[in-house]
């Protein structure tokens, strides 16, 4: 019997795909701005999970949590981009491999 509506599993699998893509982006990119974009991608994958489970459990808690996650993502993007701008002024590069002060 064909499903009438997309199932929770389908949403979870899509979310897993997006999360893995975001994680890969965080590791392999050298441009700091793109790394931050990949982090946003991961946060969004988590939001998909929260909304899917909210629907499955028929409760609104997931929606509230999603809104809070979006808030945190906005703050993180603002501070992260400010740090990137300041690093660019200092070094004239946004290449993540060349920031070696902390010897990480």
């Amino acid at each position: 019997m064909p499903e009438a509506a997309p199932t929770t599993e389908a949403y979870l699998m899509l979310s897993a795909t997006l999360f893995a893509i975001g994680l890969t982006g965080v590791i392999i990119r050298r441009n700091m701005i793109t790394v931050l974009m990949a982090v946003e991608l991961m946060l969004n994958a988590v939001n998909i999970n929260l909304v899917a489970f909210s629907h499955r459990l028929a409760s609104l808690e997931g929606h509230i949590f999603t809104i809070l996650v979006i808030t945190v993502a906005a703050g993180e993007a603002a501070v992260g981009l400010a740090i990137i701008i300041q690093l660019y002024r200092l070094r004239s590069t946004v290449n993540i491999d060349e920031q070696r002060e902390l010897n990480g």
């Binding site: 590791i27 931050l36 028929a58 603002a78």
Partner: protein, 223 residues
């Protein structure tokens, strides 16, 4: 195949393709635009799960606010990659391996047949409750009042709003405080340090303006 499934597969494929392009595009501006496409696709997926308010917030905050911030910074920094320059990190093979490993693990958790969907309606996502007091006549003739909880079907936005402001008021206020702190932090970090001459002397246009105001004041006094 029902229309909902069709939309899910089309939009889901588009979201995955766009997110792959986000991490593989050379130009950060292109990456940002594909990220915008991914966010819009995710908003559509939210609507399919009857999360209309969250979808609206996703479009407004992510697609409207955060993406503009990203695009501004990309244009401000204006990085141009030379065609022969590498955009991938030195350990891109390890990164791909980690991504694939995490993908397989998460997929194993969410594989078909693990989460069976109960046949529930999404009515709780669209309803809120209110209390009413009703006078009840007791057996001995005295009248007492009784609070009755009444479920009311409203829109998803109203349901989320009631939940947020009634049951989750403190987390909501903490989030607003967090945003304030993040804003102050971003301003302080992003501020350009003035060098010594810039700090001691006012800019020329301000000196001119003060002189003009002085002239105007003296003319008024003499008049």
């Amino acid at each position: 195949m029902t229309p909902a499934m069709l939309v899910f597969f089309a939009i889901g494929t588009l979201a995955v393709a766009a997110s792959l392009l986000v991490i593989f595009m050379r130009n950060p501006v292109h990456s940002a635009l594909f990220l915008l496409l991914t966010f819009l696709c995710v908003a559509v997926l939210f609507v399919l799960k009857s999360a209309e308010f969250v979808a609206a917030v996703q479009v407004l905050v992510y697609a409207g606010g955060i993406m503009v911030l990203f695009l501004f910074v990309v244009m401000l920094i204006n990085v141009r990659h030379l065609p022969e320059e590498r955009v991938m990190s030195a350990f891109w093979k390890g990164g791909l391996a980690v991504g694939l490993g995490v993908f397989i693990m998460l997929f194993a958790i969410a594989r078909p047949g693990v989460y069976r969907d109960p046949a529930r309606s999404d009515k709780p996502l669209r309803s809120t409750y209110s209390y009413r007091t009703r006078k009840v006549q007791q057996a001995d003739g005295s009248v007492t009042s009784k609070r009755i909880r009444r479920l009311r079907e409203v829109g998803n936005s109203e349901a989320v709003g009631m939940k947020l402001y009634r049951d989750y008021l403190v987390p909501f206020e903490v989030a607003s405080l967090f945003l304030l702190v993040a804003m102050i932090g971003a301003i302080v970090i992003g501020k350009r340090e003035l060098n010594a001459d810039e700090e001691e002397t006012a800019p020329a246009y301000m000196i001119d303006r003060v002189a003009t105001e002085q002239l105007v004041k003296e003319r008024d006094r003499n008049a």
